[in-house]
Symmetry: C2
Subunit: 456 residues, 2 copies
Amino acid sequence: MTDALQYAQDHADRFVDELKAWLRIPSVSTDSNHDAQTRRAADWLADNLRDAGLEAVEVVDTAGHPVVLASHHVSDDAPTVLVYGHYDVQPPDPIELWDHDPFEPVEVDGDLVARGAADDKGQVFMHVKAAEAMLGTSRLPVNLKLLVEGEEEIGSKHLPDFLREHQDRLKADVVVVSDTALFAPGVPSIAYGLRGLAYVEVELQGPSKDLHSGVYGGGVENPINALARMISDLHDHDHRVTVEGFYDNVIDLTDDERQAYRDLPFDLEAWKSEAGVSATKSEGDFSVLEGTSGRPTLDVNGIWGGYTGEGAKTVLPSKATAKISCRLVPGQTPGEITDKLRAHFEAHVPDTMTLTFRNLHGGHGVIVDRDAPAMRAAATALEGVFGQRPHFTREGGSIPIVADFKKILGLDTVLMGFGLDSDSIHSPNERFGLDRFHQGIEASIRFMDAFAGQEV
Amino acid sequence: MTDALQYAQDHADRFVDELKAWLRIPSVSTDSNHDAQTRRAADWLADNLRDAGLEAVEVVDTAGHPVVLASHHVSDDAPTVLVYGHYDVQPPDPIELWDHDPFEPVEVDGDLVARGAADDKGQVFMHVKAAEAMLGTSRLPVNLKLLVEGEEEIGSKHLPDFLREHQDRLKADVVVVSDTALFAPGVPSIAYGLRGLAYVEVELQGPSKDLHSGVYGGGVENPINALARMISDLHDHDHRVTVEGFYDNVIDLTDDERQAYRDLPFDLEAWKSEAGVSATKSEGDFSVLEGTSGRPTLDVNGIWGGYTGEGAKTVLPSKATAKISCRLVPGQTPGEITDKLRAHFEAHVPDTMTLTFRNLHGGHGVIVDRDAPAMRAAATALEGVFGQRPHFTREGGSIPIVADFKKILGLDTVLMGFGLDSDSIHSPNERFGLDRFHQGIEASIRFMDAFAGQEV
C-alpha cells in the first residue's frame, strides 16, 4: 500500500491536469443538444482507464447515454469491489452567476471550480487514479470493477435494465460510491442513509390562448393565480406537507438517530452562511439537520407562465407550469408519492382549469447497515487518512441507483464521499477542494487494502 | 361628405395595402432590440400623412420613442379635432402559437391577421385614410390634428411631458380615439369608461444562490413556494382582492349602469368560447361584463423562478419573480394602488425572504360624459354607418393617456373603437375585420361632419 500512496503523491499534479481535461467536456445529460459531448466524456474516461492499466475497458451503449464499464481481475481469492460513479453533470444555469466559464476549470483558493468538479467527475476520478496508483505499483489487492454512467442527473433511467442485463459482469462483494459529502471540512463521515426522490411537472391551463388582461381580467380565472394557490396549499403552517397520506409510510427517526444528530459538530451559523440564508425553515420541531436528511420534503424546483421578458405585458396567460419534487425517506417510495401527488392535484384542481400531470423521475431512499464489513473497512480507511474515526451520517440527496444495487445485484453500498455542502453542486461556481481530491485517492487505496484483509 | 365617402370606397384596396405595409414593421416598443424598427414605423406614418395631404407633419423626438404629429388648418371658425393613436405594438410572444408570421399580414376570412392589426395601427389608420378622403375631395370640415405615439404599450411614459411641452400645438375641442371595441359584430357602441392600471414586479430572494434541493431541502424556505403563498393570499374565496384598502376609493357602479349592463345583447356562451374557457370567474355577485369592465382586478401577468428548461433539475432556487397588475376603476389611482400593493407585500413577506418591489407602470381610469356634443356627434356618425343607435359601454382595458388629455389639455375624449373582443389583441393571431376597417373610415368622415355642424 505504501508504494501506491507514494505513487499517488508523485503523480498528484498530473492527476489534477487530467481531471481538468475531463471537466472541459460539457456532459450535460438532461440537454439533448449536449449528446455528442456527453458521449465524448465517456470515451475520454475509457481511454484514461486503459492508460491506468485496467485490463478490460468498454463504452457500452444503452438506450440513453453510454455506460463506461471497466474491470481488472487479480485473483479468484480476492474480494471484488465495484466502484460506481457518473460522468454526466447538471446544466450550468443560471450561467450568468458563474465567475468563470463553468467548463473551463480554474483553481481558486485550493478549490477546482467547474461544473462537475465535485458532482461527480472529481469524486469518481479519485478511484480511477487510486486504481492507477495500485496497478502502477503492482499493489492492487482486490478484483476491481468500475461502472460509470451518464444519466445520474436525469434519474439513471436506463441503469436498472443495464444492471439486470450485465449481472454476471457486475458480480462483486460490495459497491463503493463517492458522491456524497464529508460532514464538515476535516471531519470524516460515512453516509448510511440517502433520501429518495419523486419529481413531477404540473401544468394548469385556463383559457385556450393568452388573453388581454384588460378585456378579460375579472371574468376568467388566471392559471398563474390558480397554480400559486395550489402550490401554497401543499404546506401547512408547520411546514408539513399536506398531500394526503404523504407521511403514512415514513420510517421515523429513532431516538438513537436523533441523539446522533445532536452529537454532530454542527455549526448552524456556518450552515446558514453557506446556504446564504438569514433564517432556516424546517418541518415542525425537527432540526435543520434532521429536516435536510432524515425527513421528507416538497419543493418547487421551477415555475413559469405568462410574460417573463423585459418590461410590462398585460397578458392574462393561458398556462402556468411548475416542476415539483419531493425528497423521500426510507419507507416512502417514488411510485407511492407520485400517485399521492397526482391524486392531490386532481382532487384540488379548480373547475376553471385543466390539469396535466407529468411524472419526470424518481428514486428510492436507502439505509445501509453500519456494521457491515465494508463499512468497517471504510471507517478504517478514513481513520488512516484523517487520524480520527468517521461519523455515520444520513445524507439529504438522492442516489436512486443505490437501492437498485441492493435489489438487482444484492449488494450493499459504502457511501464514502469527499464533497462538502459548500461545494455548490447543482449551483453556479461548483467546486471541489484539491486537498479532498488527494485525500480521496488515499482513502480509496486504504479502503481496498482494509477490505482485502477482512473476512467477507 | 358624400364625395369623401365615395373617395374612400374607390381607394379601399389601396388603403388596405398601405396598412399591410405598416404592419410589416415590427414596432415592439417594450423590446429595445426593436428600437430601429419602432422609429421606422413612425417615419412610415409621417410619409403616409404627407402623401394624404396633411400640411404639417413632423416626427418629434422624445426621451423614448418618437411621436408623430400632424395638423391641417381649414378655418379659424371650424372646430378642431385631435385624433390620438399609437403605432407601437405588443410583443408577439408566444410566437409559436401564431399561424403565420405576426409581421407578415395575411387575410383570413375577411380579417387582416398581424400584430397591431387592431391594436392600434389598423384603427388609427382609419382616421388617416378618412383625412386623405376628405382632403382629396376638399371636404375636410374641421381643423384636424393627429398625435400618434410609440409608447402606449409601455405606459405612454413620455407622453404627459410631451402634452405639456406642446400644449399650444395640441389645442383642440375634443380628442377622438379608436383603440376600443364594438360591443359585438354589427352592434355599434361608444365607450364612456376605461379602466386604469397599476403594474408592478415582485421578487422574493431566499438563499443567496441556487441550492441543491437534496442537500438543503427541508432546511430553508423555497422562494417559489413563498411567492406562491403570497400570490395565493391576494384573493379571498369570493375572488375579491385582499390587499388592504384596495376597494376604499372605488366608485361603485350605479343602479342605472348595472341595468344598462343587463340590457346589453350579451351572449355568455359566445364570450366563453372566445376566451377559450369552460367556466367564468368574477368578483362576488358581479356579472362577467361588470367584472371585466366596471370592477377592479388583480392578475399575475408572468411568473418565473428556478429551472424552466427541459427535463428535471433538482434545484432549490434562490429567487422567484412575478409580474402583477391591477385593472383599476375610476376613484382608484395607480399611485394609491401601487402604494397599497407595496405595503401589502412588505407586510406579508416571510422573514426568510428579501423583497424587491418594482413599480413598472400605471394609468388612470376614466369616465366621459355621455351627453357632451362630441359624444352626440359620434352617436350620429355610428348610426349613419350601422343604421342603429350605439350603446354606451365601459371598457375593461386601459388607455391611461385619456386621463392626461383631460388633466393637461382640458379635453374630453370620444372613444369610438372598431375592435372586437375576439380580435386577440395582445395574443397570438391578432386580427382586425376589413369590414370594420372600412366602417371606421366612414365613421371618421361622418363624425367630422356631424361635429362641425354642432355648437361646441
